[in-house]
Subunit: 278 residues, 4 copies
Amino acid sequence: VIVAEQASTAKKPLTDVQGTQDTRGVALQHAGVRHVDMPIQVLQKDGKSQTVSALLSMSVGLPHEQKGTHMSRFVVQLADWSQHKVFSVQLREFLQELCQRLDAPSAAVDLEFKYFLSKEAPITKVAAPMGYDVRMQGRLNQGVIEQTLTVKVPMANCCPCSKAISEYGAHNQRALTELVVQLDPNAEASSVVWIEDLIALADESASCPVFPLLKREDEKWVTERQYNNPKFVEDVARDASVALRNKSGILGFTVTVEAFESIHGHNAWASYSEPVSL
Amino acid sequence: VIVAEQASTAKKPLTDVQGTQDTRGVALQHAGVRHVDMPIQVLQKDGKSQTVSALLSMSVGLPHEQKGTHMSRFVVQLADWSQHKVFSVQLREFLQELCQRLDAPSAAVDLEFKYFLSKEAPITKVAAPMGYDVRMQGRLNQGVIEQTLTVKVPMANCCPCSKAISEYGAHNQRALTELVVQLDPNAEASSVVWIEDLIALADESASCPVFPLLKREDEKWVTERQYNNPKFVEDVARDASVALRNKSGILGFTVTVEAFESIHGHNAWASYSEPVSL
Amino acid sequence: VIVAEQASTAKKPLTDVQGTQDTRGVALQHAGVRHVDMPIQVLQKDGKSQTVSALLSMSVGLPHEQKGTHMSRFVVQLADWSQHKVFSVQLREFLQELCQRLDAPSAAVDLEFKYFLSKEAPITKVAAPMGYDVRMQGRLNQGVIEQTLTVKVPMANCCPCSKAISEYGAHNQRALTELVVQLDPNAEASSVVWIEDLIALADESASCPVFPLLKREDEKWVTERQYNNPKFVEDVARDASVALRNKSGILGFTVTVEAFESIHGHNAWASYSEPVSL
Amino acid sequence: VIVAEQASTAKKPLTDVQGTQDTRGVALQHAGVRHVDMPIQVLQKDGKSQTVSALLSMSVGLPHEQKGTHMSRFVVQLADWSQHKVFSVQLREFLQELCQRLDAPSAAVDLEFKYFLSKEAPITKVAAPMGYDVRMQGRLNQGVIEQTLTVKVPMANCCPCSKAISEYGAHNQRALTELVVQLDPNAEASSVVWIEDLIALADESASCPVFPLLKREDEKWVTERQYNNPKFVEDVARDASVALRNKSGILGFTVTVEAFESIHGHNAWASYSEPVSL
């Protein structure tokens, strides 16, 4: 164990350099910590919570006259939440606390983690956990909050052109649907958007969902379903977009679909954002 | 060599599935190819060009009534440019050609590559190439072009607080300054922003630039310079922002500085965007 | 919800293609699944366990006469362990079960995850979790087991040359010590190597450890300690190697130290393996 | 431009700290630089060369009595080769020069880059460059050289089980064949293994190769060929292994095949190494 015997007798005062005046006239939108790993609790739609291994970025707005922020306070708050609180897509409480601890006009947080859902095979119903990349971002500025939820859902994607022109077979491949949703902070409880909702929406837009565990009768079903349901990346993007248009609790969204083409070394992609001015 | 002897006698017509009508009412902003590797020529500020290994994304806008785009045409154009043209930060010609080939209302391109500059050591002047991550993005929509240039510049970053409170030494570390610049498409030739300009601007904002090759007398200079010039990530972000404010040929910018702290396992960061509404 | 209404009336039998005979005379060392995400429990040195988000690879040896393995059985076992068992560096039980489920002569597993330890600041003793990259690999072949434990520990690294030649200051930077240890499967309980042991060993080899949370008096101590304790990557590699040589429960090791130099855009590194024939 | 006006009047001598004596008794196998970006020339099979953007690691063995190596000399040699020499899979000359410059008993180099080949579509013969991940590693120790060439080749992979049990269609996906080949340093010129040879060998082992550019008649051919040629990852690994067994100029190899399953979020893989004791 390393002990602190080498600490010198303090001759210099422990000056608060961060607290000195700045004269450049640049009010930074973000000053904080990034690439922080932390185990946290995330609220599930079923009311339980799960432990995830999060990668975080946190920041506060820094007024133009203040030289620096106090980096250690971010980790103090995060370590406290890691032990005692549960994160949900509603990040207001976390951001308000950050504004207070740092005496800041705005605060932002960005969390990325692997989120697990138990998923059943279509015929045999055998189940196993499946991991999804999830990102939750929030910014509170002068009391106004913006919150974004991103979910990446792998799927099977079967090419309509290949099916139409070939005597047999059709090239298909794994693809990834990314849904980025701007949440309505004033949504009623019944309209709150959950990670689980976005995964289900993406699965329904695919040629066929993918599964963690498939027995032979499941594999037959999956093969035939994707062949019966060919879609370009453009089709998947449009189907997911139509579904999101009809979903409440959302102020805007971006759908991006990327297929790891089995006929090319590169990918095909399509993307749609609404409102269109985004 | 694999020969085509297995091709079946075509019984099905080679239908143009992409060309059929779509009724969902979703005009996609992007449909195209992604993660395409291609060697290309990039124009340097000195008028010469260098071969870079680019990772590209390309897309066109897809009108709501059109089912799919023609993915092969992107690669046809890219392969042609790879052989016969030189890319610069001015992407209008490339995007106009893409709109024409795909008969599309809009087109976008995103290029990422390692760009090399020869850099001299501060005292001995020994030189070697140094690689920088560069990204060029452009979108042409109904004749209006938006162009963004991103450059990531590694640097040395020395902590003012650590220097102020310690009897000797100061913790320092490698950091990364990312400059994202929205280019003015109507800039005069004398105001065009070059990759080289942004690297120089980032170097001047650092505690000390980093170098590919240093002899002992250079290392002494670099060590003393960063100790004499301590800066928080907030300081570097502000100094780079002030410099970009005074630069012509730019409609807006984002500066992000991230320090790989030598006292933590996580990073410190600061970011500033202008215009502030961005 | 997607229901299975499209499943065709089975006309084809659900043939076991994997079970057919192979004649190429190639007994594969590995056939299995890769890049599987799964939440698992990992045993801590203090006897408790923590939930980690693991990325796994699993495989079995495939005899030359067997065409394929049964991919779903890997996930069945993994999902079961995810819910009911605790992983430790001792992987024999997991691998024996895999050999049995797959009726295989050998089995291998590779787990990577972020592992968290609470770490105290050197002076103020404020604590927060810190995440470390950990990898556990095992292979059981004809009853003989090989087990490897890898831990990556970030640290502060101060350059002795820079300190010696400069009037003031010394360049330092974050560095990463990777310890790969081949575990003795016959080690007594008192000699078992824990993740915690390797992190402590790496911390003691550094110019100074890094911390998740530091107050100003801690930052002063850390700054002065690394300045008082300059080490080349070669020194850190040697100090860690000498410590590992003296550690029981180990059959061999590789130490790799990589410094993210604050004077260059590239890194310095050193590596040592024992036994030397490795 | 940053000028060197801040250099202090040298009071300290520019000591060669690296040259001092070490007493720990640890002769490091590797001390050097890592993650160096450099444009280099690579020799093609057709006798021409191409410019690639390489990521390099270089090192020398460090005798137990020597404290440190001279990091700048690696970059001096690399910058020189970048301008004046052509790299091939034969790395002896580069490594001998490294031993001499560093006065070292052994030297190693590891180069990774994207390598481009023009590839024709199967029916229309339209061509475009396609990029492959290539790695060349070499180590010269007391005059004995070991050289390894690694090539990663994307391909189409169609599942035999899915085809056998489904009424129509078969799931397929992009997969990656990685060939790692230990080169015979005494191979005659006619037996030298080229990057191009390994790409061709991997393509022949696939259900179907992938292409940079396909017109509709090509897509039909590719779809039908992969359906006619279903292979498990185990099959691809075995076919590539049999082909490598019959290839001269090789001392050993590892084939690893990984399929990005379109029915799962995780991958299937198989691997074979020869000699088996590897």
